[in-house]
Structure formats: C-alpha cells, structure tokens
C-alpha cells in the first residue's frame, strides 16, 4: 500500500495531464486559454478528487441559469449579419430551433441552434427550447442547403430535450431525431457543434453529429435530466443532485470520456455574468474548430466524422 501514491497526487497528475492536453489541443490555441489555464492551475491546489457532487451540480445550475445567453444572444454578438430561415417545408415552423445564414469571421455559414425563451410568452412560443419533429426537419433542410452551397455548419445545442408530447409522437419524434443525425453524419462540409447550455439527450444529439464537438465550460451534456434519472433509479426526483454526480454531465467529464474535443472557457462566474465576453470566447472556439475541421477533402472528412462516432463507448471483449 505504501507504494501507492495517494488520491491527491493521482488527481494532481491527472489535472496536469489534462492541462498538457489543453495546451496541445490546436483549436484552443487561438482561444484565450491562458486565463483558463491559470485558473486550472489554481485548481490543482484545490481539487482532491473528481469534480465533487457540488461542482457538478454547480454546472447544472449555471447551464440552466435563466440569464444564460441563448443561441440568438450569441448570433447577435458573434455574427456580422444573420438572415433567419424559417419553416420545415412541410407544414409549420418550430421556433424551438432557429436556423439561418450568418456571416461569421469572414465566412458564410449555416447556423442552427436550439432557442429558449426569455419571458413567459417567448418560452411558450419556443416550447422551452424543446423541438418538435418540424424543428428537426427545418434543421435538416438548412443543413442540406448548406451542403449544396458549401457553407460550413455551426450548431449550438441548448435544450432540455425533444418535446415530450402527443403531437410530437404522432409526427414521429424518434424517427426525425434519427434522420437528422444521419443527415448530419453524411454532410460533406465542415461542421462544428457546441453545447452552450443544456445538452439534453436525443433532442440535443440530433444536431450535434459534427466534425468537432465543443462544450462551454458550464454546459452539461447528458443522456437524461438529473431529475429524470433520479426519478427512475432513486425513485425520487429530489435526488437529482446525487444522480448528476453519478452520471457526470459536466464538460470536464465529457472531455475525459472523449465525447467532446475541447472546452470553451466562460467568463468568471459563468456566461451570464458577461455575455459579450462569453460570445467572444465562443466565437474564438468555433472559429478555430471550423478551420481545423475544414482541412482535408469531403470524403476524408465524412469518413473521419463517421469513425469518430463509430468509436464511442467503453467495453471489453
């Protein structure tokens, strides 16, 4: 036993490794990573183990903070121009997803994102950012448009999940989420997704099948809501904090598990404390990731993207 380094030491080593990894990640090169590194280095002193239950829960709180910037808040700050494209070309326009053409750092890009509402009326109009099949159809047709015109795709993910209603089921919610993933998997253009708040389950992954996947520092990405998980496994939704600590939806764990490529730093205290600064950091991250994803030809990119997702998982045998 004496030969084993204690838990603290192991964690410090892991953190140093993580920092080394961050320094090596090319797409963080342009991001103002130094501030982030300084903070991470400070964290070495503090962190004894995995992010604690409290730290994970802090991310959950910030990811759902009512003042957190949403997709259109970032579009307004990051893009020189934006024309929204609406409608699913079948029968409606789902406002839980916004899509359009944007001028982003000298490029024309197609931008797609979940959109939550700020006040009660807008929240209802946008179904709290929970898309119907029509929302995914809109995303798909804008992706296809982007592919034809060789515009890269930026996708901003921020949803509690796909809308869980009767009409959504009647219109084939599961099928459209599946088809949206397949559409995105097959695009020839470079694609980048970033989870900017809640990456809630299938409703999130539907538009996150990208060449590069990023997460903001305080975003969460998870298979189920902490409350949902608690209700099923603990049979008590109030055990959400325990559930979150167990399934680890925070950005650091997602990076460690290889689910995301990089973490986009947020201003001290979270994105809502300084939306302009948060948008600057996000734009830097997206820009670097897009340039990175733009290397290589269509077939290589498609094959690499498919392989990226094909390899997800941990198993033996």
């Amino acid at each position: 036993m004496a030969a084993e380094p204690d838990q603290n030491e192991i964690e410090q080593l892991r953190l140093r490794e993580r920092i080394a990894k961050l320094k090596d990640v090319p797409l963080l090169g342009k991001v103002r990573v130094s501030g982030d590194l300084a903070r991470l280095e400070r964290d070495i002193e503090r962190i004894a183990a995995e992010p604690t239950a409290d730290e994970v829960w802090h991310s959950v709180d910030l990811a759902r903070h009512p003042d957190r910037p949403y997709t259109l808040d970032y579009v307004e700050r990051m893009c020189d121009d934006f024309i929204e494209l609406r409608g699913d070309r079948t029968f409606t326009d789902d406002r839980a997803i916004v899509a359009g053409l944007a001028r982003f750092r000298g490029r024309t890009v197609a931008l797609i994102g979940h959109q939550k509402g700020r006040d009660l009326q807008e929240r209802q109009d946008r179904s709290f950012g929970m898309p119907l099949p029509a929302g995914y159809r809109k995303a798909m047709r804008v992706m296809e448009l982007a592919d034809r015109h060789a515009f890269p795709v930026i996708s901003l993910v921020d949803t509690p999940g796909a809308y869980p209603g009767v009409v959504a089921e009647q219109h084939g919610q599961g099928g459209w989420i599946a088809r949206c993933q397949l559409e995105m998997m097959r695009l020839g253009i470079p694609t980048v997704a970033c989870v900017i708040g809640e990456g809630g389950s299938g409703g999130a992954v539907a538009i996150a099948v990208a060449d590069r996947v990023l997460m903001q520092e305080n975003a969460i990405y998870s298979v189920i809501s902490p409350e949902g998980c608690a209700a099923i496994l603990w049979r008590d939704a109030s055990e959400a904090k325990k559930a979150a600590a167990a399934f680890k939806p925070d950005a650091r764990h997602c990076l460690d598990l290889g689910v995301i490529d990089a973490i986009v730093p947020e201003p001290e205290g979270g994105a809502h404390e300084d939306p302009d600064a948060a948008a600057g950091l996000l734009a830097d991250g997206l820009d670097a990731a897009l340039s990175d994803a733009a290397e290589g030809d269509v077939d290589t990119r498609r094959a690499a993207r498919r392989l990226r997702f094909r390899q997800m998982g941990v198993f033996t045998g």
């Binding site: 796909a162 869980p164 209603g165 009767v166 959504a168 089921e169 009647q170 219109h171 084939g172 919610q173 599961g174 099928g175 989420i177 599946a178 088809r179 993933q181 397949l182 998997m185 097959r186 389950s201 299938g202 992954v205 539907a206 996150a208 099948v209 990405y221 998870s222 298979v223 189920i224 949902g228 998980c229 099923i232 496994l233 603990w234 559930a243 167990a246 399934f247 680890k248 939806p249 764990h253 997602c254 598990l257 689910v259 498919r306 392989l307 997702f309 094909r310 390899q311 997800m312 998982g313 941990v314 198993f315 033996t316 045998g317």
Partner: protein
Amino acid sequence: MADRLDVSIEDRREPPPEDGKKHPNTCPRCGSHYRDDELDANLRVCKQCDYHYPVRARDRIAQIADGGTFVESDADLRSADPLQFFDLKPYSERIAQAEMATGLGDAVVAGAASIERRACELAVMDFAFMGGSMGSAVGEKLARAAERAAERQVPLVAVTASGGARMQEGILSLMQMPKTVAAVDILREARSPFVVVMTHPTTAGVLASFASLGDVTVAEPGALIAFTGPRVVQQTTREKLPDDFGQAEANARFGHLDAIIRRPDLRPYLGRLLSFFVDGRNGR
C-alpha cells in the same frame, strides 16, 4: 373513522399477489392462462385474444432463423463501467445480476443466420436484460453486425425491444445513438438492406437512432413505439392521451411503419421481403 360503518362485502377469494403481478403465462389482456409448452407452441401469442407475449432473444432467433443456421458473434462482449456508476447499487453489480438472470452478456444477441434460406446478419434485443437498454456493448454489437452485413453484402435484420439508452453509462450511452446511426450509414454505403422489426417496447434512444432508419420497418401488434413513453408525456404536458397512444397501430396510421406483422407471419414475411433484395438486384 371509528363511528363509520363498514359496509364492504367480505371477499373470501384468494387475495391477489402482493405486488399485483399476475403469473407470466397469464394473458394480461384477456386473462387466459397457458402452460409453457402451449405458449411456446403458439410462438407466445394468446390464442384467445392475439396478445403477443414478450419473447426472449434466443427464442426469437429460434422463431425466425432457419434451424441450426444461427452463428453468434461477439458473445463475450461486455459493457465496462466507465463512470463507476452507483445508484442504489453499483452498475457492475446490476450487469452481473442481469447476466445471471438472463444468461446473456448484454441486451442484444447478434450473429449470422439464414431466414427462409436467405443469408443475413441478425441482431435481436432482449428486454429482460436491463430493459433492453442500449449501452456501449449493445451499440458495439449492433455496429459490428452492420459492418459484417456490409462486408458480406447481406441484409441486416434487427429486432428491437428497448426502454432506451442505459443511464448508468451516462453520456456514453447517449453516444450510442450517433454510433449506431454511423453503422447504418456504413450499411447504406455498402447497399446492404436493413430491415427493422419493432417489438414491445421500442422507445427513446433506440427508436431515435438505428431503429428508425430501416429500409423497411415493421412492428408486432400492440407494441409500444414512442420516443417518450405515455407516463412521462402525461406527467410533463398533462395532456389527455389517446387510448392507443404510441401503439404500433397508431404508428402505422400516422405513417411510421410499413406494416404490422403478427408473430406467426413474421418469418415468412421476412423471407419474402429478403428475397426482393437478394434475388432481384438487376436495376443497377
């Protein structure tokens, strides 16, 4: 309370079992009861009311594959426990218990088979293993089955039964959705046919990934096919649910299925269907 008269009529019958569960061989719809051999002889379908009982993966393979043709692959593949997940008990213990209880390594059994003399890859899910939930092992076995089908230029037939992603594997279980979608993309690129048979229940992460991407998609009668199950829809939206919410029959009415196939008809249907793909490829 004490001065209230008790007017209930005394019930002298046996009280129902404590947990309210009937015997597994008792039909939950009409109450008919069968011996094991009777039920098996009728492919586990109620002779009185046509209720389709759940079928275990190996029994399903015996029902639809030609005798002796199934050769299992990846039988030793197991999910790891990357999160060291612990709810009321450790995930590793839950897997071990499920393996003991079902005799399966995880919630899908996959391998090569023939159906009515047409070679295919067959992947059959088993709801008895942790609700048929999809974690890394299920995703990997499905992806490998798709790759074998692409490689061998044969169809992939998937029989689904799943409550969705396996929460205990956290975000990696969510990633099995795009992973199996990638596998379907590999199948499509190789122009190998993909047939999906949805059985009760096919929901959430499985429905919202490979299960919805079949070239041909059929379901068993009465199967629940929904991204969000009725209880959660009811609790979240307080909507009044239609009586047939999420049922295969409703899905067929809304255009999400090619057909509803009764279990006794499934094997001949698959045989005919595969023959179109295998025997008649002269368009290109």
